[in-house]
Symmetry: D2
Subunit: 306 residues, 4 copies
């Protein structure tokens, strides 16, 4: 198998202020499939084009934000390898076994205040892509027609160390970097475990464990436009877009869920291979890297995180 | 690195009847970049979005068809591993060193009459994607705006053995299969070394070393339409499409180059991961697998190969 | 007002074999809005982006086909003018008053065996585009997202005389013609009352009163692709497409409703103005005029009418 | 003919600071066709999909802005009618005969400080759409692939009187209005002579004869995205977009030419008919009417005119 080790980002647990309202939002507007309740305060959802049991968990809480983000490994050997390689970093590890359909998830508390999980065992979902004489979809996609949970941008301190952890422990590749003005460090780093431009990105930020945004994959620019029409119709607050990123070339809209979490609908982007040269951005071109068309970051984009 | 071993299809050498006319066709219409002449009878080209020195070589010959198709490996270790694992199959191997910009290519004569190469060393092209504060392209794409050489469908006998070679020696994954009517074998098999639905497909066919088609990646359905407009304008013979495949979900047009080689412009398709279940097609649904909309294969599609 | 007289095709009554199944088809798949029953054997529908009470009536009958097609006039003065100018042609006229929401429709039995109506009075529909701080749609479009009833291709004898009637009586413009081989007549003529490439086309055909196809407007090529995906999923029989017409430049799919009526989803096409030169097609290029990409008409297209 | 009188906006003369640089910009980037020099200080261009001799004239001057905007009439009878009906308004009229390929243009100095022309006679361009077995285009479109000059938004005082002039003298229809806060007047009015959402819009503004923007038609949302990619590549200053308007539903980007004139690439929008109800916007929803997605006007949009 040419694709080994860590395969992709596969699970995210979000904090939302009102569970029922949020489930409706992610189902009706984003177009996720409802998988079911998880205890009293959580709800599982998934993209219609994902095979695995679920990929998004919403948890009702007093403040928005992210609980954890997890990566699917090809096999348990990979999981063991991650555990072993984490020794060098000494990040606290614990096991989570309460995600229905999932085997044990190994959780690591990394130095930017985020919790990153790794698992290899997960059941197939009831609603999943057809595989026997398959139609491209079984039930018509709805809402923004999000295919799948794609990536997240995690903010916090100690970014350099965390980048090293993703590279050395998780075996991921740095695809693009945004240098600080003195070029001695990175403002932001994009990392991939497959051919996506990124599965996760790490933003240098003083507060630990902050979520800048997480992202759903759409099928193309036309679906980005359709998503914007849906946002406009239902008065969903758009932060920026429709536009393109210079970084990853992805086409995008940033908007806010009812709890204030920044969500992205994302499409396109190049096909990454590990023999590609690193793409590098200088600090004075940060605006262009993120907001490729207008070349200007808005203040809200830099300061509002959950 | 999570993506290891064989990375992708990276080089194809085609036979064409008139070199000059063919270079114009692949440059002006398909939108490839001219890299330069190679001896008296060959010409090198590449997609505007490829980093490597070149990906397509046209060779003037008395009959159309394919000389060989090669795969890029991450490193020389992979190449050595392929050589070692080929021992079990005992396929003839020889070395090619005449492709400018490329290190040694290990060529294997596999049992369907095709020559498959593996290499890890290749220089970056002069015209390649930007990497320092990169624009999404440097020079405006032209013609059909082919991004890159994507895959080929190789026809010949002994398909099952060749599939095993791609799986065991090259480490590739079977993504989809089309069973024979008795379900004891495959009419066609699709194989991937990365997250594409396929890098190469193998079609059972009595004549050895035959090319059914080879394919260029476009950016989406809208570019498929644009490509069709260009074909119509310049009276390029369309075999089928615009349409979608059931297999891989790719959006597509099949057409013929001036020498009669079947070429495809291809876009979309799902993102494959090795933990996805195998997609299976029964013989009675072959039409739908290939021609997803009309569900009927045309006679030409089944019989015209080069 | 610069747009006067006959404004557009506005109403069509179709014969279908099973009313309930057909209502489901036009609602669920084409995406029309249900307006309501009309007596025991008819059902009214409309496109989500139409203001008028309804635009499509399905009537249960023993054989498929078209009952009549009607045009909206700006005012009653236009209707009177049509009645007066019809005198020269002497086509039988009668009044229809049983279409809910519509004033009197003046029906004319023209020489190709078709019944063409004209009306100016029609109530606004309950479900219609918003007009006060309007969203681009109120309720999300569904299915193939047909905006509106666009045009029909009516087949029958005496085409030349009927063309004259549309020009002289209805004040419509000939936008394109397909000449017979001897160039003494037309195989097909396209006529417009506004800036569309056509509101109606007339095909020379031995049998009177035959429907070749009628058409719904989609928003673009991407929606043509989405419509094709829906057709594939629900095994709706596609006649041809996705493709483009040379005539009108429209992007299109022809398919069949459950009764065997040929339906078209149509998008794009140029903006016609009456100062544009006539577009002319010679008989030997008919294939390209209709099937712009493949340049070949299929047999079914030429022989299957209802 | 159902489409009579004034047909469409057909000619605009712009002031630019550097003629050569501007010709390159409108040719290379917007994708217009060069028609030729006009005297020492002017240059004629056209959209590739326009039949008429030219539609855009650039004039080198000390300050940017608009000289005049002209409308094509179906016939000289319409021109005479406009002259006659202008008597009631008493706007100064003069004749222009120096536009190559055009007959006499009747120019009217209307009360918002703008000059509006009317003409019916114009020669066909050398480069124009094919009409004999036509391809959808003859020479491949380039750059942003602007089809045609579409409309302009003219700013100045006495808006209400000017609206009346366009309605009573030119016979145009008001398609949408944006009311002032007290609902006693209009901030902006959109007017159409055909089925476009607008050919011209009038903005209430203290300074006379000001140009807010003028607009080129693109073929759809995908071309809007492509245009944005071109703007990004060549560092063309984007004012707003890609986005959609609530008014007209058009998909759009506003950007600046090298002289500071605001230009728009515009696609889509509904098909207007004179029997459609007026679309009305209240002052508190102006942001949504113009910037449908973000619902917020930027300061520059309200204050920068030429």
């Amino acid at each position: 198998m040419a694709l080994k080790g860590i395969l992709r980002s596969g699970l995210i647990q979000l904090r939302v202020l009102d569970l029922e309202e949020s489930v409706d939002f992610y189902h009706d507007r984003i177009g996720l499939t409802k998988v079911g309740k998880l205890g009293n305060d959580r709800f599982m959802l998934k993209g219609y084009d994902e095979f695995d049991h679920h990929s998004v968990v919403l948890r009702e809480a007093d403040s928005p934000g992210i609980d954890f983000m997890c990566f699917k490994a090809l096999d348990e050997e990979t999981v063991k390898d991650v555990i072993a390689k984490n020794e060098k970093f000494g990040y606290e590890r614990y096991e989570v076994t309460d995600q229905p359909g999932f085997g044990t998830i190994q959780m690591f508390k990394i130095a930017n205040g985020h919790t990153i999980g790794v698992y290899s065992e997960v059941e197939l979902a009831e609603q999943k892509p057809m595989t026997c004489n398959p139609k491209i979809w079984d039930k018509e996609p709805h809402g923004m027609e999000a295919n799948l949970f794609d990536h997240a941008l995690l903010a916090g301190p100690n970014q350099g160390e965390c980048v090293n952890w993703f590279v050395e422990v998780m075996g991921m590749a740095i695809t693009e970097v945004l240098y600080t003005e003195d070029k001695n460090g990175y403002i932001c780093t994009w990392l991939s475990s497959n051919t996506r431009g990124h599965d996760v990105a790490l933003l240098n930020f003083p507060d630990a464990g902050k979520l800048h945004h997480f992202s759903f994959q759409l099928s193309g620019w036309n679906d980005i436009g359709r998503a914007a029409d849906i946002m406009a119709r239902y008065n969903i607050k758009i932060d920026a877009g429709p536009m393109r990123h210079g970084v990853t070339r992805g086409q995008t809209i940033y908007f806010f869920d009812p709890s204030g979490n920044r969500v992205e609908t994302y499409a396109g982007g190049y096909e990454y291979f590990p023999d590609a040269p690193l793409r590098e951005w200088s600090a004075d071109r940060a605006g262009e890297g993120i907001f490729y068309y207008t070349k200007e970051l808005n203040e809200r984009f830099l300061t509002v995180l959950t």
